[in-house]
Subunit: 430 residues, 2 copies
C-alpha cells in the first residue's frame, strides 16, 4: 500500500496534494516536498472519500479540531450526530470521536458516514472499554485487542488516530522521580499506567509499534502520537518527564517517517504563557519538525467556564511558535460534557486563535482577510464585512436584529470618528 | 496641592501606597519608589473617597478597565447604573463613563457616587457635545470650553482622564502623508481633526497642555494621554504616524512627570499578533516607561461578535510585553452598544487575559493561584476550586446545575485518568 508520504517521496503529486495546494494558495510542489519530508500531513484514509480535504503543517493555515462522542451516562447517538454537524458548520477542519458509550463501533461508523471533514479517534478508549465489558477490567486488555481495534478503526475509514505509543515503563519511573503535582491527566496515559503495572509489561502500543505502523500504513491513516504524560496543570509544565516523553515521541516519529507513515504529534494541555515559546521549540526540535497538534494550550488554570478563551490565548501564541493543528476547548472543559452550544463556541474560539497566528505563519492570506475587512469597514460595505468575517452568521444575525449604523454601529450620535474625519482625508476639506 | 507622585518624591508613603503594597504583596517602599519615578500610578482623586484602590504599572498585577455610558439614542441612566454595578461585581478595577447622552454631568455624578472603583472619562466628548447643543457644531468648541469640562470633571472626583493632547497639526500632516487605510478611528482624534481644520489652530489640549496639567494636578487626577491617532485596523499598525504620535506622547509624558502629575498612556487598538512585542517595546521606550493602558489589543480584524476574545489574545500577549492596564472589549465591539450581559463578558474575558500575563510579570501571585487550583483539582476539593477560580460564580452555578464528578466532571464512565492513575503514584500499588 502507498501513502501520501511515499507518493510524495516518489515525486508524485496526488490529487489530495493538488487540492491542498489550491486551498492554501501554494504550488503542488510546495506541498509534495513537505509531505515527502514529513513537515506536512494530509489526513485522508484511502478507504474513505469525503468532500473536504485539508493539509496540516509547515507554512499552511493552522487547522482546527473539535471533539464529540458518547459516554456511558450520556449515550445519545442522535445528539452526537447533531453535534458533529454543528462542528462542521462552525468551520472545524477535523473532529475526533471519543465515544465510550456502548456500541462504539456503530457510533464511529455513523460519525464517519455523516461528516465531510477529517475523522480521528483514540483506539485505547475502545479497547479499554471492551476489556471492562468482557473481562471486568481494563487491565485485561491484550496487545492483540489494541491492534485489533486500531485495525477496525482504520478499515472503517479513520483519517487520523491518537495512538499512545510514546509511553513506557521507563517514562513512568521518570514521572515518579520527577514528582508531579497532577501526575497523569491523559485518559490514555492513565489506562496504560494501570495496564503496565498490572501486567508487568511495557505498553503494547510502544512495544509493538512496528505493528501499529503497519496497520496505519495500510489505509494511510495519519499517526498522531498521543501525549500520554502531558502536564496536567501549569505547575507541571516543562518538567523532566515531559522532556523525556518528547524524546521517545521523537524516536517513534522517526520510525514512522522511515516506514512511510504520515505522522504528527499531540502536545499539551496546560502551558503557562511564559512556557509556550520554549514548549513549542522543544517539541519541534525533539520531534524532527513533524506537524504539531496541541490541546489548547490552556494558558491559565483558573478560569473554569471560560477554558475556550484560555485555550485561544495559548493556542494563538503556540500557533505563532509553530503549532499546526489546534484542538478546541469548549466552555465546558473541566466542568462536564459539552452541549451543542458549547461545541460551536469551542470551534469558533479556536478558529479565532488560528486566524491570529496565521498572520505570522503565512502573511498573505490571514493578512489579506483582515485587510479586506478593514476596507469593508472604511467603505461601510456591510456585505463585504459579512463576507470577510470568520463567523459571518454571527454578524448577519446581529445586523438583522439591530440595523447597522455607518461603519461599525457603535456611534449613533453624530460623533462617528470615521464620518467626522472622512472629509479631512478624502472629502471637501482634504 | 500635592499628588501621589510628589509625595513619593518627597519620600513620603501615603495611605494609598500602603494599601496598594498590601494588595500586591510588595513593600510600601517598592510602591513609593515607582510612583516617584512614574512607573506606577495610583488613580485616586483627592476629592473622592471610595472603598477600592488600585495601583497600575511595573511589577503589579495587570488591571482591567471597562466602559459604560449613555448615548443620544440609548439614554437610560438606570441601565447604566446597573451596568456599572455589574462591571464592579465582575471584578473590573476601573471604569470609564463615556456618556454622550443629555445630562452628561448628572450621569457622571451618578457613576462616581454609585461605584467603588477608579472612575475615568474623556473630556473632549462632553465638550464636543455641548458645542453641538449650544452652537450647532463641535468645531465651535473653544479651548476654554475644553479646560472647563476637564476642571468640572476633576472637581466631581474623576480619578483618571483620557486627554487627547498627543495630537496636533503636524501629526495630521504625517497621517496624511503616511496614507492610512482606516485613517482615524479615535472619536477624540476625529473631533480634534475637524476642530483644527475649521479653526486653523492647533489642538487646544496640545497647545494648552500646561493648563491641562495644572487642573489635573489640583485633584491628583491621573492623566491618561489619549491615543487620538491609533491605527484603526491591523493593516495600519506600526506606521510612521503611530511612531510620530508616540514621540509627541513621550514629550508630554515627560512634561507631566516634571510637573508632578501622575501619567499613563493609552495605546491601540488593532495590532496583529506579529506586531505586539514591537508595539509594546516602542511604546514603553518612547514614553519613558510610564504605565501603559491598552485598548485590546485586537489581534485580528475578522471576528466581529467575538472581539472580547480577539482582545484577550492581544491583551494577554501585550501584558506579557509590558501592558499594565487592559481596557476590555465586549462581544458587541464593532456591532453596537453593549448590553449588560456584554459588559460582564467583556470584564471576565479581560481578567482571563490579565491572569495569563500576570504569570510572567509577577511569577508568584498568578502562579500560586494556578497552583492552588491544580491542587484543588487533584484533591477533588470543590470548595477550593471555587475559591481559586477567577470567576467563582460561574463554577458555583455550573456545579449547582450539574453535580460534579470527581476531579473535573468530564469522565463519567469509570475511566477518569486521575482516579485510574492515582493508585500507581500514591495508593496501594505505588
Amino acid at each position: 500500500m502507498s501513502t501520501q508520504m511515499l507518493e510524495a517521496r516518489a515525486g508524485r503529486i496526488t490529487e489530495e496534494m493538488e487540492r491542498v495546494a489550491l486551498q492554501e494558495g501554494v504550488t503542488p510542489e510546495y506541498i509534495r516536498e513537505r509531505v515527502a519530508d514529513s513537515r506536512i500531513v494530509i489526513p485522508k484514509n484511502t478507504r474513505r472519500s469525503r468532500s473536504k480535504i485539508c493539509g496540516i503543517g509547515e507554512g499552511l493555515d493552522i487547522k482546527v479540531n473539535s471533539l464529540m462522542g458518547t459516554s456511558s451516562d450520556r449515550n445519545d447517538k442522535a445528539m452526537e450526530k447533531r453535534k458533529l454537524q454543528l462542528i462542521e458548520e462552525a468551520g472545524a477542519d477535523a473532529f475526533m470521536d471519543l465515544s465510550t458509550g456502548d456500541d462504539i463501533d456503530g457510533m464511529r461508523r455513523q460519525s464517519i458516514a455523516s461528516s465531510n471533514i477529517a475523522a480521528g479517534c483514540v483506539p485505547v478508549y475502545q479497547a479499554a472499554n471492551e476489556a471492562i465489558e468482557k473481562h471486568g477490567s481494563m487491565v485485561a486488555m491484550t496487545g492483540r485487542d489494541l491492534l485489533d481495534v486500531i485495525e477496525k478503526e482504520c478499515e472503517d475509514g479513520m483519517d487520523f488516530m491518537a495512538v499512545h505509543s510514546a509511553y513506557n515503563r521507563q517514562l513512568f519511573d521518570i514521572l515518579r522521580k520527577t514528582g508531579r503535582l497532577a501526575n497523569i491527566v491523559s485518559r490514555g496515559g492513565s489506562i496504560l499506567t494501570a495496564w503496565m503495572h498490572y501486567n508487568q509489561k511495557d505498553n503494547p502500543l510502544y512495544a509493538e509499534f512496528d505493528k501499529v505502523l503497519e496497520i496505519l500504513k495500510s489505509t494511510d491513516t495519519v499517526l498522531s502520537i498521543g501525549d500520554a504524560i502531558r502536564p496536567g496543570c501549569n505547575f507541571d509544565s516543562l518538567d523532566a518527564a515531559q522532556m523525556a516523553g518528547l524524546m521517545v515521541a521523537g524516536d517513534l516519529a522517526k520510525r514512522a517517517i522511515e516506514a512511510g507513515v504520515q505522522v504528527m504529534i499531540e502536545g499539551p494541555g496546560h502551558v503557562p504563557l511564559n512556557h509556550i515559546a520554549t514548549t513549542m521549540q522543544m517539541q519541534k526540535r525533539l520531534c524532527h519538525n513533524v506537524p504539531y497538534y496541541i490541546l489548547g494550550f490552556l494558558a491559565t488554570d483558573v478560569a473554569p467556564g471560560y477554558d475556550n478563551i484560555t485555550g485561544a490565548i495559548g493556542g494563538a501564541f503556540a500557533g505563532m511558535h509553530g503549532a499546526d493543528f489546534l484542538c478546541n476547548l469548549t466552555p465546558a472543559e473541566h466542568l462536564g460534557l459539552p452541549t451543542e452550544e458549547d461545541v460551536v463556541m469551542g470551534v469558533r474560539t479556536a478558529r479565532i486563535a488560528a486566524d491570529c497566528a496565521n498572520v505570522l505563519r503565512r502573511g498573505g492570506r490571514a493578512w489579506n482577510r483582515s485587510l479586506a475587512m478593514a476596507k469593508a469597514r472604511v467603505n461601510n460595505d456591510v456585505q463585504a464585512q459579512i463576507d470577510n468575517a470568520l463567523m459571518p452568521e454571527v454578524l448577519r444575525e446581529r445586523l438583522a436584529r439591530e440595523p447597522k449604523h455607518d461603519h461599525c454601529a457603535a456611534c449613533s450620535d453624530g460623533l462617528c470618528p470615521a464620518d467626522v474625519a472622512y472629509d479631512y482625508f478624502f472629502g471637501d476639506n482634504a
